[in-house]
Symmetry: C2
Subunit: 674 residues, 2 copies
Amino acid sequence: MVDDHHHAEFQPFDDTKADTPRAYAPGTCKIFDMCLEINKPNHYTSAYDINNLVVRRGQEFIMKVTFSRPLTDSDDFQVEFLIGGSESLSLFGSLVVVTFTSRPGGPWSGRILQTQDQLLVLGITPTPNAIVGKFLTYVAVVMSNGLLRTKRDATTDLYLLFNPWCQQDAVFLSDEAARTEYVLNDNGVIYQGSADAVTQRSWVYGQFERGILDACIYILDVSQMPIRDRGDVIKLVRQGSAMINSQDDNGVIVGNWSNDFSLGKAPTSWTGSVSILLQYVNTGVPVCFGQCWVYAGVFNTFLRCLGIPARVITNFNSAHDNGGNLKTDLIFKSDGSQDRRSTRDSIWNFHCWNEAFMVRPDLPPGLSGWQVVDSTPQETSDGFYRCGPASVTAIKEGLLCHPFDLGFVFAEVNSDVVMLKEDRYGSLTPFNVDKTYIGKALYTKAIGNMSPVDITYTYKYPEGSAEDSRTMARAEEYGCERDHTELPQTLLVQLGEDVTVVVVLNNQSNVSKTVSGHLTGAVVFYTGVTANHFTDQDFTVTVAAKRSDMKFIVTVQDGENPVNTMKVIELQKPKLTLTVSGTPRVMQQMYVTVSFINNFNFYLENATLTMEGPGLMNPKSRFYRTIAPQASISWKESFIPRLDGQQRLTAVLDCKNLRQIYYCQTKLSQKKGR
Amino acid sequence: MVDDHHHAEFQPFDDTKADTPRAYAPGTCKIFDMCLEINKPNHYTSAYDINNLVVRRGQEFIMKVTFSRPLTDSDDFQVEFLIGGSESLSLFGSLVVVTFTSRPGGPWSGRILQTQDQLLVLGITPTPNAIVGKFLTYVAVVMSNGLLRTKRDATTDLYLLFNPWCQQDAVFLSDEAARTEYVLNDNGVIYQGSADAVTQRSWVYGQFERGILDACIYILDVSQMPIRDRGDVIKLVRQGSAMINSQDDNGVIVGNWSNDFSLGKAPTSWTGSVSILLQYVNTGVPVCFGQCWVYAGVFNTFLRCLGIPARVITNFNSAHDNGGNLKTDLIFKSDGSQDRRSTRDSIWNFHCWNEAFMVRPDLPPGLSGWQVVDSTPQETSDGFYRCGPASVTAIKEGLLCHPFDLGFVFAEVNSDVVMLKEDRYGSLTPFNVDKTYIGKALYTKAIGNMSPVDITYTYKYPEGSAEDSRTMARAEEYGCERDHTELPQTLLVQLGEDVTVVVVLNNQSNVSKTVSGHLTGAVVFYTGVTANHFTDQDFTVTVAAKRSDMKFIVTVQDGENPVNTMKVIELQKPKLTLTVSGTPRVMQQMYVTVSFINNFNFYLENATLTMEGPGLMNPKSRFYRTIAPQASISWKESFIPRLDGQQRLTAVLDCKNLRQIYYCQTKLSQKKGR
């Protein structure tokens, strides 16, 4: 898309008269050098595995230009940067002319830093709001009758990124440790499970790996996002949230929440974003399959790769609301069982999205900072599957009157669960409201280490506080319908912490009650969809071979009104072992051995073992037809570290009859050179 | 879409035990009557030419139900209203159960007004936020083992509309004269031309004509708008603005701003919305062709038909901005001519959109009332061709931080025109800024008569006032980039009022200036696109046979800087004559004669004469291969008035070599028939 259009090598002036004398012989530009070795460390782009210059906007970079002879005062030249096809106009910023005299040029400033005979060292500073993407670079010398340009040369193409180090950039982030984590860290952890039993899986973002930056620009090209909008971080992240899912626009990842992944790879089988993005670019078709953490992982790569500070968030008990209000309705039949026909899948055990850090000049003051963006295709936002950017502060304050999708995200963390019973005539009556179940906690990875941080307080004031009431009232003012059902005093039912289910019946009324109880245990997907029902006495057999999240619903009959409660329990997972050997030194061969023992009493079938490490090793896979009970597997692989410092290897074993992820990772440091 | 799904005639109770005795013989419902004669006048829906009951939400209507025997205390029944297919759930309001005892039902209230033996008169009040559309009506009697329903009967289907007469409805409008105009008037006037030479054309909205209400619901069905959202006026008008144009979604009208309408009808040939909407429903494919006033006319019909107060607005000198800022850039070459290659069609002589009246609970207080909605496909809004609802008050105050599309509409009325010159090296420099050209005036039809009202003050504070500065500053705070170019003192160039062009050179500087002038005259489309250039001495011949808007651009060279100004001049139009004869009485035949003399000195070719009058006559057309110079045509047609009171007939003559509209209208009153 970018390459099919470039500048003519000679462009005559429109206003040149026919009798203008032929061009005199000026100092023509022979070669120029983009000075990668000097510019990349200054722009924090050394890690990008690419042969072109990658710099960040709003910050000067240098170029060395060699002319055919030393320039004189009558010589004039300009440097030109060209992006996009048919839109290549100065007006939209897709042609940038940089001048080095008083002659007016485009908005990027240029200065001559040094002159050594024929060689000029130029300093060029793109504006802090410049278009982000890949520019073609030209040096054009002014002749008497036109401009004489250098030939198109792909090695001098310039990649321009957002700049969290630049105070005037909309993505400026003042803290160096935060920038290192949210822009430069190419490994991460995504939290899963439930709020009181948080589990984690590694995710390799790999934003600096070969081909990934081009893949991110390719995604924008596929989306047909206008070139002139690509410097606007608000529009860009919104477009990104639409493109990472395949819906509407032939985007990156196809979602699949069934149990059948035979037409692609299981969401649990990926080790990171790199193989997904490279497959998307190489095939041009959406990649099968993802679920929420896959969307969030790949979107995080996209954002960090383009220079936008980003992180993955996990929301435990995430409401997936269809009605545009603050009520998540669960409908029960008169026998206490859930009415699957009329209840949608409305509570996910956990849901992952991203936050991107930016200024919001389109909103009133105070709403800048972290913004929710979500690429998982849950609901359409104004017609497309996309979500955000939604200011986290606006969510906390209930200021839902601004773009984008604040009401939707607010409901994901603040919905009341309203349990309704359907009578024989088709009418619904609420019988229980749980105001604390949804948005139990929000977690993200800490800066600088692998532990989780509870960031619930950034989304919500404490439950029951005056500020919380104010927020909820404000949300209601802005049209979010809440539940105000007056319920009779009811029994509270609580489930214990362990797989040994303890049911506590707490009679809050003043009279004694005789109740009859009913306990349902079920294996559920993380979306809350029931995969398999079981009764408490035989679940030990059924569970291990299936999904490991279990959900219990207790129904207690209290006169006319059933009383329900829900709890999700996460099971233990076996582990892979990784062992690294060899001298930890950049560009020297090392080895990793990954091993696993099947401690289950059944065969593992059609297992795929995958590992990768950004800066160390591209994703590699091995297939095992069966792994017998008590059998062990071991796989030794060599790799050559590309980057110095701490790096990580991640491995995942995924098989058809043991879908849950089994992974482990190790950390290694290698020194620079020789 | 609605009809493919209806209720079973017997629905057994889920909770019925197998040993339940068989149903006893209750009073079953034999027939019921929707009482059109009583309900329609009370709900201001008498004018709808439809055999079903049409009522407005938030207001009681009555039903008469006859049972097989007088009911006893042990009898129980309910009335059910069903809308939509797969979503028919009480939860989403698509199944509404109305009960008449203490047994809980849905949100609509029911009461028994009168009992006469087997006949019950019921009063039913839909909630003021109920879903709008076509409901299937059932009476269901409670048997011991289930519900026994009346058969599906299309004649009892109920159409439920928005209710501007109901204080709790989001579209409540307190003034009766305003309601009569903006909801009940089925004729209108749309203003065109230029701010200082306003012309007008009639438009027949025809929202009550046979088939139009079903057409409006069909449009929502085609859009796949979820049934549960169809009571939300904000979502509904946004969806409507997307659907009236054919882009994205196979909507109603195909735009065509070229000169070639051979594949359909010319935008200038329509007399109103009725034939467009009926053609759309009957063919299922978008109708060719429309321009802005056609979109606005049809959208107005859609809104008024569903009960939403609406009007058509004309904005003179409407900026059509592509860059998302407050600058409309016109690029000129160094010789003073406009650079068509790099300037987009950015100023429309006039542009029409709609306003819809509603409460905006999603916004802070003060932003309710008229909202801009625009269905002309100018630019995508968040991915689709649609625009609004955008609060007019928010536009006036510069509060652009709210949904939807405020920045876009704000730019249409407030952009600065920035004239830039492009130098030989490809760089642009501004040389003139006109801060008053855009949004010169906004007009709409007056309440109760056919004269125009200037409503500019509802969109803008007076130019140069303190409030205007505050608004512009606020808009800029919310990210609308303005022009702050410091320009040298320049010549002001003004064009005279008449076709005799008077160029006034006003030297504002302190020194005398010698200038050389250049005058361009051109025939333009209303979008500002040049159709034909001419020099002042021969325009009398060229213009009459083409478009009648002329645009002059004067360029005066002042040293280095060209100085430009623009003016659009509207030409005179010939008229049709309509004569009505016969006794003006409902349901009695009358006659209309439309006549025309070709005063031009050339043949009119392939002319179509169309006329219609809502409540009087459906659209009818005649084709004339040629009309010779000085020849006259005359066409007499009979019609039978359906409604009493003042009605109007509108006629349009449109032909291939005289594209500009030629129409006239007459007013007639008929009394109610004997």
